[in-house]
Amino acid sequence: MSDVVIIGIGIHPFGRFEKSYEEIGADAARAALRDAGVEWSQIQSAYLSRMYLPATSGVRILRRLGSTDIPITDIEAACASGGAALRQAVLAIRSGEIDLALVLGAEKMPRGFMDPSMIYSQWQIEMGMSLNPAYWSMRARRHMHDYGTTEIQIAKVAYKNHRNSVHNPNAMYKKEFSLEEILSSSLVCDPIRLLEVCAPNDGAAAVVVASEQRARRLGAKAINIAACCHTIAQYSADFRCPADSMSASANNPGPTECTAKQAYERAGLGPKEIDLFEVQDTDAFCEIEIYESLGLCAVGDGGRLVDEGRTEIGGDIPVNVSGGLISKGEPVGASHLGQVVEIVSQLRGNSGPRQVVDAKVGIAHVLGAGGNCAITILKR
């Protein structure tokens, strides 16, 4: 089976802009093509990851790059859309049908809480059970009850990620906050606070993907896609579905556990062999739970990992050195590809003050509505 590699990356900063999604997306796509040294006319298939944009957005964005007749397909899998789109490109290249593809993630979202009618029933909206952070918060509360995780440990994750973002010109906030500022920011849904949640915003990220042979012929610098997996949560296994009831007895592993198991197997690697992690910190608690689900520590020990500083940029398992979604914001369709761009840049050794020393392998992880989870493992 042929290896699939990334030969070009491009990103449009995440934030809020007086620009159309077509312009934002096209900017990232052009940057990725330029970085790969490839012309748009050479691309054989393109995929757009997006959730909140209209139908055929991929065509609307990429038409700006010039006339083409290649298939351009929009892919949606909530917060995991980017992983789902990248996976389609990987499968197409592995099949031998094509050997050069563009995967773009783009989004433009209104300020504030996300439109609930996209994922909740009308009666849940009328009763007020349609606030995404409420679900993350209930999970946090239970974890605190079961394992003694504290509000301070949760705040420390937000502190770390905001501080990391100071060195990321593509992040929305780029601002360090003290632990006191985070702990005194207003509660969104107890125990989760304003400076501990990510905001929906605008942004785009793109990668040019090729077969290893094609990359060699092009003379491109290649980063290997060691795994690109996508699963959805099994029955009653995740809080983000959202469900109107959960089972008290079903014991299915969560979506991150299932996707990670697949991805580690495909890559032939375990969590100890990975140098950096970009994960779904939709809220600061979520990152703690993901440490456990990715196997970075035992279940219940996520808070301790934070206290020991192991997930900081200088720690032995750096997580979200880009600043994470908490500081970058979450343009849903673009977020996973933004993580992939970050890791490729890190593996190339091009990340400046936030560079993880001698990074060889990195993981990008996203998790969202419908229990959609995607994990990409990249290797140099």
Partner: protein, 153 residues
């Protein structure tokens, strides 16, 4: 004697079909309805044709117990987006998963002082009536601590 207009005004509707069981005119008789699967044994909220766990059609309707225990909770501090029909002006409210004896945890608003919320709190179902602008009466539900009424006095 009941007039036609009285009847129209008094007609109550459930907030969602297939969620409640019992006459809506006698609120203390209203229960949540669940679907129990005889094949896999799982029970889920609402009247369903297929089991959300095993996908079989071996489900039957059961009234769910009106008492349960709070498994986890949060406080919604901001007005939820979209067509929220709660009090105006908005007041923060509790929301949680209530574990029922039938083996499921139901997502519900919780009607009590938010400072009383605690995992393990014993709760009971409280069907509530909301009057819409067209004076239609809509029956929805909340859970409240079992001794709530006495404490409020």
């Amino acid at each position: 004697m009941t007039t036609w207009s009285d009847k129209v005004e008094r007609k109550r509707v459930p907030i969602c079909e297939d969620l409640l069981i019992g006459s809506l005119d006698e609120l203390n008789q209203v229960r949540l309805v669940g679907s129990r699967c005889s094949a896999c044994g799982e029970t889920s909220l609402g009247r369903r044709n297929v089991c959300p766990n095993c996908g079989r059609e071996t489900v039957s309707e059961i009234p769910l117990s009106n008492r349960g225990v709070l498994w986890t909770y949060t406080v919604v501090r901001h007005r939820p987006p979209g067509n929220y029909k709660g009090p105006d002006p908005f007041a923060p409210f509790g929301m949680g998963l209530v574990e029922l004896p039938e083996g499921l945890r139901v997502l519900t608003p919780i009607h009590c002082d938010i400072n009383r919320l605690k995992i393990g709190l014993e709760l009971q179902l409280r069907p509530v009536v909301r009057k819409d602008a067209d004076s239609r009466e809509v029956v929805s539900f909340t859970f409240e601590p079992i001794a709530c009424k006495e404490i409020q006095i």
